[in-house]
Symmetry: C2
Subunit: 607 residues, 2 copies
């Protein structure tokens, strides 16, 4: 555990009081927490066009009002979550808000969805980023899974090293992506305004479209709003911000919302003006870049930064998952290990768990995790809705100054989120049905764990029940021969206040048993030896039988039974392979099955 390899990879441990230094500035936080949301610009617009194309390319003009709708939804969410940040400055986002205002089960639905969702985020984003890279270099295609797993491992290590260090490395690509996208949109719009883009490339806004239906439009809208996943990340991660944390978080959230809105509208508009149609071989962003600037160096920069931001989007999961896990763990719904800070003060168990989960998903789906996107989007809009409803309830109950305006903001957020979630269920049921199976299982598990902690707590609590009086102590020493190890153990046992020491020996045939008994009598005439014959060549079984017998007698007479195991320890690790490890087996089976004290007296070999 303390090997120099670990030190090299993770860095040297940090003192607990260094915690303040690990906090995030606004610019770093924007980079680290918004890559998930911003990266969706790379696929959100495309999702809208894919749905519209099922009717006709003439319907593409609808992408403009739909994008406007998505931006309205985004605005509503941003303002709703801004209120969450100020109301819950200790973070926790949807889980805490729902639990406190709507009850435990609503909280667990939100928390459970998000917990799974972050794992999906990592798997989906990394796979998508890998795809972008292997599309550029087709010879790498057979290594998709290996590359994706490699990225996940890198992200895991970066996050184990600590939150600000990873931010420093991750900030540049995010800002680079934003700048490159803004330049692309700038050039594109300039071309459109200066009339360099032929008008016949795009259908006029308002052109009637045969076969268009409200269902199709809603489906397109739902698809487009998958670009809003990741918006909640900041509200979960407030404790990571520098003081004043809520104010800094709120500013970061607004900045993210602004950037996301501009990029989203920009890409959708350019796609419309250039008449870009989605196709399986080339992404919409790639087509826009090619149409605006041609296949030059800038085109490759656009593709490169897009690939990078997709991989980094996974990092949002790494920031939010461990913090959510801490909240769930503090409430006793998931194991306590998620509350332990690692050497570098990050919640390392959460980070490793997330990395492991993502790697498993990548292996299971062979690196093609795209069809998990709707599942992942619905898993985001369920907690969105619950959080907004929770906020409504809060304002309604507490009625602080100016509560009505706040109530209205969250009501709008709640209604829109709910509608989007429903649209996913209605229009994409074949992909989102697993939610109905996994969510109940997860929530049931949460309750089981909570129940366990509760009963354990009750059993461990001191009470006024007096512990029974101990009349005396009996020691059993299992011996494998007459050696220094046994001598050493008996010598130790004799220094303690013991009423009886019984040596116990297992013989594999009757003659051997007799011979051993005689040798023992000559060596240790004062210590009683019991020998059992084991016809099935097991050592543990006869020992257990004997212990049962003695334990039975002890219980009757108020004696305490202790098994004291002589154990010799070779000097080098590989030597362990050369010796039967019966004492370890004996110890394990005693510890787990019997209520008796087990003592190990080590005898370290010197060479």
């Amino acid at each position: 555990m303390k090997s120099s390899l670990k030190r090299y990879i993770i860095g040297k441990p940090l003192r607990s009081d260094a915690l303040g230094e690990q906090k995030l500035s606004k610019t770093k936080a924007l980079a680290i927490l918004s890559s998930d949301a911003l990266s969706s610009v790379a696929y959100g617009p495309e999702q809208i066009l894919i749905v519209l194309m099922t009717v006709s390319t003439v319907a593409f003009w609808y992408s403009l009002p739909i994008a406007a709708g998505v931006v309205v939804l985004l605005t509503a969410l941003i303002f709703s979550y801004r209120q969450v940040i100020y109301a819950y400055p200790h973070g926790g986002g949807a889980y805490v808000v729902s639990r406190e205002n709507l009850g435990v089960n609503a909280g667990l639905v939100a928390g459970g969805s998000l917990l799974v969702d972050y794992i999906l985020t990592v798997a989906v984003s990394v796979s998508a980023g890998t795809d972008a890279i292997t599309s550029a270099f087709p010879s790498l295609h057979p290594y998709n899974v290996v590359i994706a797993v490699f990225f996940v491992i890198c992200l895991t290590i970066l996050n184990l090293r600590g939150v600000t260090e990873s931010a420093s490395i991750l900030a540049y690509p995010v800002y680079l992506f934003v700048i490159v996208m803004l330049m692309l949109i700038g050039v594109g719009i300039y071309n459109v305004v200066t009339g360099q883009v032929p008008a016949e490339l795009h259908p006029k806004v308002g052109t009637p479209v045969a076969g268009i239906s409200l269902f199709i439009l809603l489906k397109a809208f739902a698809s487009g709003s998958s670009a809003l996943t990741g918006v909640e990340a900041i509200s979960n991660a407030i404790p990571n911000f520098r003081d004043p944390a809520p104010k800094n978080a709120s500013k970061t959230l607004l900045a993210m919302g602004g950037i996301l809105a501009v990029l989203f509208i920009g890409i959708v508009s350019l796609a419309y003006f250039y008449g870009v149609a989605p196709n399986a071989k080339e992404t919409v962003v790639s087509q826009i870049a090619e149409a605006s600037v041609g296949r030059n160096i800038f085109y490759y920069i656009v593709q490169g930064t897009t690939a990078m931001i997709l991989v980094l989007a996974a990092n949002t999961g790494y920031s939010a998952f461990p913090l959510l896990a801490v909240n769930l763990s503090k409430d006793g719904f998931i194991p306590r290990i998620f509350q332990i800070r690692g050497d570098r003060l990050g919640y390392s168990n959460g980070i490793m768990m997330l990395g492991l989960g993502a790697i498993v998903l990548i292996f299971l789906f062979g690196g093609t995790t795209e069809h998990l996107i709707p599942l992942y989007a619905v898993g985001v809009f369920i907690p969105f809705t619950l959080a907004q409803v929770g906020m409504m309830r809060k304002w309604w109950r507490e009625k602080p100054k100016g509560w009505l305006a706040k109530f209205m903001v969250n009501t709008v957020g709640a209604i829109i989120s709910f509608i989007v979630a429903m649209m996913f269920f209605v229009t994409k049921l074949p992909q989102v049905w697993p939610v109905f199976i996994f969510l109940p299982i997860i929530i049931w598990t949460f309750h089981r764990i909570k129940q366990h902690y509760k009963t354990v707590g009750e059993q461990l609590r001191l009470d006024n029940v007096e512990l029974p009086n101990v009349e005396g102590n009996i020691f059993i020493v299992p011996v494998a021969g007459i050696t220094k190890v046994v001598e050493n153990t008996l010598h130790y046992a004799q220094t303690l206040n013991v009423d009886k020491i019984i040596a116990f020996y297992v013989a594999f045939d009757q003659a051997e048993a007799k011979a051993f008994e005689e040798k023992w009598k000559a060596w240790q005439p004062d210590i009683r030896l019991v020998t059992y014959y084991s016809p099935y060549r097991s050592i543990t079984q006869p020992l257990m039988k004997f212990i049962d017998k003695v334990e039975h007698q002890c219980t009757k007479s108020g004696y305490q039974l202790t098994v004291i195991i002589p154990q010799f320890l070779p000097k080098k690790g590989w030597h362990h392979m050369l010796h039967n490890q019966s004492s370890l087996l004996i110890r394990a089976s005693l510890l787990f099955h019997k209520n008796i004290v087990i003592m190990t007296v080590p005898f370290h070999l010197l060479k």
Copy 2:
């Protein structure tokens, strides 16, 4: 370990005194121990023709004298090994014979070669059998590795169930193969004798061949004698025979030699008369069967039994490897676990080790292990030679009645084996060079293990050095809180006659340390509490530091230090995941690094 699954797969345990019942009758032994040797009929003749074809198909007539040479070699080996059986009725074959007559290192060369060789046997035979099956059903070809591993697992389980049970299942295919081969040879010879085979198919014996050289002929002979691998199996496995074991083993050996000679000569002759030339797509046996009887049902029976015997040839390794391992282990050259009889009285660790080794080889070579054959053949002829030389030495030294005849038999065996081994080194060096690397490493390891057992034995032996007097006992109790578990532990510690009990607590911040100290004073005023503050959030490190300190003082004043660990045990297995396992970590690092007694006081939760 004692799960019902294990019972179902392996069968119920057998009593040690049931050992006699597991012994082999001659007919079963012939099946179980000769499948390796007999299966080589399926590839031995082909190996000869492949070498001759490098000159010209006219050279094929040389296959007849070469086959005769192989049969001479076989006869020499059979009679040599017959003498080994009588001289060493407890088995051990080449290893025991070489060690006793030529010294430890000669024995280890023989034993090491054979040990590795049996693993190669299993991997090579099973892969070849799988190839035969997937050649018949090409759609199975992508699953070659999976099928081969499946066969190895089946063989391992059969052998873990016990030696006679596996023989019962394995006897039928071996006898079926022998009968089918005899029928094939019978039909073929009948056709030849009745003149149904055109004479122009085969070159006349004695036809001069341009370009033939002694080197080619020797290479062909060496290749053909790879059919003799497996001949030593019976001499290794004498203890598996029913009494009188040596006599039964000797008869079985003669029977095997006779059958092998007939089949080998028969197949070579038919190949010659039908003018069969080896080709990559169809085996020689398959071509002979097709030429003699056509592609009818009998043809498929020939192919099927051939495939089966190849898989079963692996079983010879399962009989011989564990027994050789026992011999090496008894002499202290390999770990002692190989001497333990499993539930079904087989040496189960040897069986599992062999299966595992073969599976690793199959995975490493992707199921195409054919080019391991020369390596495997040379690994057989080295111990052959050593065993025969050892026998020569024995007769020379002991000079029993009629020793000269016996000496001559073994001398002939030794010379021929040596020549064959040398021919492999000369003609197939590119495939057999790993012997020169692995054999020295293996022998060095054998000596290291032996040396370790020796030094351990010396250190464990009782001597007259008095153990130091213990002035008193000090207990350290690491506590994680004020709970029933701790109360229970302290209660126990107080029943032993201890001079001092010190509770030890690790706090993660200063305020917490103070608060805990006060609570403790109120609860256990008589037991001293020591609190350390851990800035790096480690529990083990501060505990170790404290133990070091106390241990230092104890050593000075002759006190014995014991660490007594309170441990609560949840009722169900999955509950363990929900609790930090610090006490297990603490115990492990104490046991391996410190010379102090460790006690675990369990507190079993009831729900």
